[in-house]
């Protein structure tokens, strides 16, 4: 027995082993179980394979990478411009990894990132408004908003003012009692943005100022989101 030609029941070792890959996990059918009971070789084989699988499950991730791994990660992030080498607090330059925005977004242009989020909200507002007006008007507005997505040669202040006015107009149409409140909020957040932008313009390497500017734009984006919700029917 055990030379692959004999075994219990109506099954020999060769036949049993042909299905071994499936028997291990399922336990096998009646004939296979019968063979297993009577053939010590196949029984030991199955026992070993199950033991190996069980032991493998107990392997814990005890191995630790060398410090070179973390050093490499830090260096790569610094080279990509996502993390600045000199920053003690580990602040990043922008909300999203720089690689998504390309090298042109670094430096003094970094404050454009939150504007992108802001304009997306504005586009949402315009799209909403388009349902209220004629198809032609909507088409013109959306076309206008799409062109606003190209920041390269756009005066962001003028664009922002224009969007603020459109937002207030939409609120006035749907919830006139809230217009004054939103107008004041927009004034406050615009002043906040203006102050922080001055700080960044004065010292483009001032990480705190950049972070504060990001926060200011984030607040404005949030204000837009809330306003859009309020102006919906």
């Amino acid at each position: 027995m055990g030379k692959g030609v004999s075994g219990g029941g109506n099954m020999n070792c060769g036949e049993f082993q042909e299905s071994l890959a499936y028997i291990i996990d399922t336990g096998g059918n009646a004939k296979q179980k019968e063979h297993l009971k009577e053939c010590s070789v196949c029984s030991d084989l199955v026992s070993d394979l199950r033991y190996i699988a069980d032991q493998a499950k107990l392997l814990v991730p005890m191995l630790e990478p060398s410090s070179r791994v973390w050093d490499g990660i830090k260096t790569s992030l610094e080279q990509e411009g996502v993390v600045k080498n000199r920053t003690a607090r580990g602040r990043l330059l922008g909300i999203l990894p720089a690689s998504r925005w390309g090298p042109g977004t670094r430096g003094s242009g970094i404050w454009m990132l939150p504007i992108a989020a802001l304009v997306l909200v504005a586009v949402g507002l315009l799209a909403y408004r388009s349902t209220l007006s004629s198809r032609q008007t909507a088409s013109a507005e959306l076309s206008s908003s799409n062109s606003a997505l190209n920041f390269t040669n756009v005066d962001s202040d003028a664009m922002s003012d224009n969007q603020d006015q459109q937002l207030l107009a939409a609120i006035a149409a749907r919830a006139p009692e809230m217009r004054q409140s939103y107008e004041q909020d927009l004034r406050n957040v615009n002043a906040y943005i203006s102050d922080e932008r001055k700080s960044v313009d004065t010292d483009p390497d001032d990480e705190d100022a950049r972070q504060a500017l990001n926060e200011a734009y984030r607040e404005k984006a949030m204000l837009y989101e809330i306003a859009v919700q309020h102006s919906q029917p």
Partner: protein, 200 residues
């Protein structure tokens, strides 16, 4: 343990670290690295069997984590998400190298451990004789194609259907390769045991 309850440093849970890392906080990212580096590195090392490669792949996995963490929506556990990301990094690396190990053709080492092989007379079973170090070494000695399937299924707990999806092979192929890997491991472990006895 849920990710919300894991604490990385005093006052910072894993969930908070993930949120902060999404917003670009490098310290939180470092905390996440400290928490998961062993698991990711162990996975890379077991799949490649090479320390230098495993370290490079660990680095790449965490760089990808940094770039993609904003897309993590919490639909699965963070560790599961990171683990899948690391597996993909390793497989991508192996495919770039053009090694045959990611080709799961049945022709790989044909019939070496096939079911009709004469398995010999009964000898001592392995039970009780394997320690962690021996098993790690034996896994490292496996042919790469076997090793990947074995690590994914028996060590990391992936199901055959998941492996088939990741590796781009059939479920039957995954099962077959796993069986061959276990058979090969059995041989390696028995050989190791015999050599150990001979030395003493």
């Amino acid at each position: 343990m849920t990710q919300a309850k894991k604490t990385l440093v005093p006052g910072l849970s894993e969930a908070e670290a993930i949120d902060r890392a999404k917003r670009g906080d490098a310290e939180s990212f470092e905390a996440l690295y400290a928490l998961h580096k062993r698991r990711v590195y162990s996975l890379c090392l077991r799949m490649t069997g090479n320390t230098a490669e495993a370290e490079d792949l660990t680095q790449e996995a965490f760089l990808q984590l940094y770039r993609k963490i904003a897309t993590f929506r919490g639909e699965s556990a963070f560790s599961t998400w990171l683990h899948r990301l690391a597996v993909n990094v390793v497989l991508m690396h192996l495919r770039k190298k053009g090694l045959p190990e990611v080709s799961l053709e049945e022709s790989l080492e044909p019939q070496e451990d096939g079911p009709k092989k004469d398995i010999g007379a009964r000898d001592n079973v392995l039970a009780g004789s394997i320690d962690r170090v021996n098993l790690e070494r034996a896994i490292e000695s496996l042919p790469p194609g076997y090793r990947i399937i074995f690590v994914l299924h028996d060590v990391e707990g992936y199901e055959h259907n998941e492996i088939a999806e990741i590796m781009g092979c059939s479920i039957g192929n995954s099962k077959s390769q796993l069986h061959k890997a276990r058979m090969k491991l059995r041989d390696l472990l028995k050989l190791s045991r015999t050599e150990k006895v001979a030395r003493t």
